[in-house]
Amino acid sequence: MTASHEIETLLRETAEKLLREKKVNLFLGYEKASLPFRTAPLFLTAPEDAQRLAWNPFCSANLAVYLPRLFKAPADAREAALAAPPTVGMVLKGCDARSVVALIQERQLQREKLVLVGVACPGMVDMLKAQRAVRGCEVLGAGEDAQGNVRAVVEDGTEVTLRRAEILADACQECRTPMPSIRDIMLGTAVENKDTGVARQRTAEFGSKPLDARWACFQAMLSKCIRCNACRQACPMCYCKDCLLDQTRPKWVSAGSDISDVTIYHLVRAFHMAGRCTQCGACARACPVGIDARLLARKLSQEVEDLYGYRPGEGIEATPPLSTFAMDDPQEFLTEPSLIPAPYHPAGEAQQGGRAQ
């Protein structure tokens, strides 16, 4: 795999050229943030600013979240005449590419207005895991060594090496397609996509707990929620103009953090993500109180995969299950809950057992 600093050089050259030749109006990338273990999104318009672009183990944000805003449908003819949609260049990893594909499929983006610069992703660092690995020491700076591990300088001046594999984000450990499935330009060498099996393993591990224990886990996790909406706002697939959770007439969910409202909030999001979530991990990364919203989203994605053989964002030609219908679609889940044999396994006895009458 190509080293990060080489990718960074290539990326700067590519972005500079795209902007200088006016192939794009805007280039979306990452730049160094003021604190270690993270980067900030960078909206580049001037070719000479391309030197600010960074490529390092902390480029975890899914920049696809910004795209629907840039391609927002004009409110009226006047607005449409004023501003044509921009041409946007963007650096993207496997997960970002999955989101871009899903957004194109959902008609939120115009493919011809995008110049996609792909990088085979070695997996990005989870900021919290990195901070825990230095045991809460204040980190003055962090970078990458020749092996792709993270070198951090802590407050007393000592340098520590954090093995990348151990501080990778959960979503990155589970990632099956680190290669961007859609791209116009590829930087560095390709990597082979392979299923690590980690996602299934984690779901199975949680699923093996008794029902009471699972419920207790959810309640404990959700009781920490402060309803800041960060999981929704960081999600590229949450682009609804008027979110159900924000509606006031009628008001479906209270704005507060009472457990019933919080539970509804997270269930609504999870259900709206079934067959759409690209498993980028943006929700978990954004959460200020450590809620893993992926726990539900991952399980629902696996259900959709088992039922329809569909993986969101992995192929632009595939048809998302929510936008199609076939006479032989499995529909056991339409069954009255009381008729579902417990425990419900989509691949197991449920498929013979509980058809709706």
Partner: protein, 336 residues
């Protein structure tokens, strides 16, 4: 009343004594290993090795969900007022200072906010001076400091083997008098050690050049930087909800038939709904205007209204922004 001291080993006893009078919250490790303001506590170790809590303690005075009125069978009832005292031990000076800012909004208003006033009157804050600031801290640039006692009733300073307790208010003196026999008089050496520790912490906090940002903001309403900030902002409420001074709220009635409640919940200027009019018009239609409001409110309007910047430099918004935005960077450059 003069300063007192207590040995580290007697701290649990001190909190136990306070527990006889009210609910005590003190730093403790949660299941994830994070130190949070935990309670009401009974016994067990107090964790003193923390920088600051992930969430600000403002929720003790301004709960995220606060029932103002209950409706039953069509009749309104005031909810019962808490009669137990609350003791908050280990609040950092930045967060205590934020409470003094909230006091200006809710207590010095005419009329004062009764819901806030009830909770504030029943709460005693024993702040713990900061000895381990982090790089995102900037309290010294916004009028505070690691040994600042504003908003606190008692300021505690952790020394080598004991804690120095400095009363800051009449309530603080009363609390120390109540703890009387557990405490000993502070020695000049202890006072000296406390001052040295606070000074050492102060030296570790990098100053941010923002003392003239209040003036600069006066002619920065149309700055292009708002657009740049709004472009990156995801529109979540992390910065507001974690901020110890943000205090905007919404009030809604949750009623079914004649039964329900009127509830006050935290609100946030980054949310599209915040200024949405019933007509559908929104005077702050994009993140650009919302970001400008957030900064202007804290650093300009608050100064005009309360003669105080509504930022205490705790750094939570800097540490937790999912878009990696740093308020300090904007403040340094805006209107310059």
């Amino acid at each position: 009343m003069t300063e007192k001291r207590i040995s580290h080993t007697d701290l649990e006893g001190l909190l136990g004594r306070l527990g006889e009078r009210g609910d005590v919250f003190a730093p403790g490790k949660d299941e994830g290993g994070d130190v949070v303001l935990m309670g009401p506590r009974h016994d067990g170790p107090v964790a003193l090795d923390y920088r600051n809590f992930r969430l600000s303690p403002k929720a003790f005075l301004l709960p995220q969900n606060q029932t103002l009125i209950r409706f039953e069978d069509g009749k309104a009832q005031e909810p019962s007022v808490p009669d137990r005292e609350t003791f908050l031990f280990g609040v950092r000076p930045c967060d205590a200072r934020a409470m003094s800012a909230l006091d200006k909004v809710f207590l010095e208003a005419d009329p004062p906010d009764p819901y806030y006033a009830q909770l504030r009157a029943k709460t005693a804050v024993i702040a713990l001076a900061c000895t381990q600031p982090v790089s995102s801290c900037f309290c010294t640039s916004v009028g505070g400091g690691p040994g600042d006692g504003a908003g606190a009733d008692v300021l505690a300073v952790e020394l080598e083997s004991e804690l120095l307790l400095r009363p800051r208010t009449a309530k603080g003196e009363e609390v120390l008098a109540f703890l009387g026999d557990l405490l000993t008089e502070a020695t000049p050496a202890a006072v000296k050690e406390a001052d040295e520790r606070i000074r050492a912490a102060e030296d570790r906090i990098a100053p941010v050049k923002i003392d003239d940002s209040v003036q600069r903001l006066g002619h920065a309403y149309d700055s292009p930087l708002w657009e740049a900030a709004g472009q990156k902002c995801l529109g979540c409420g992390i910065c507001s909800f974690l901020c110890p001074t943000c205090h905007c709220f919404d009030i809604t009635d949750e009623v079914r038939g004649g039964t329900g409640r009127r509830v006050r919940t935290w609100d946030c200027c980054a949310f599209p709904l915040f200024t949405l009019h019933a007509s559908g018009h929104n005077p702050r239609p994009t993140p650009k205007e919302r970001w400008r409001q957030r900064v202007m409110h804290k650093f300009r309007y608050a100064v005009e209204n309360f003669e105080q910047v509504f930022c205490v430099g705790c750094g939570r918004c800097v540490r937790n922004c999912p878009a990696g935005m740093d308020l300090r960077t904007l403040l340094k450059t805006i209107g310059a």
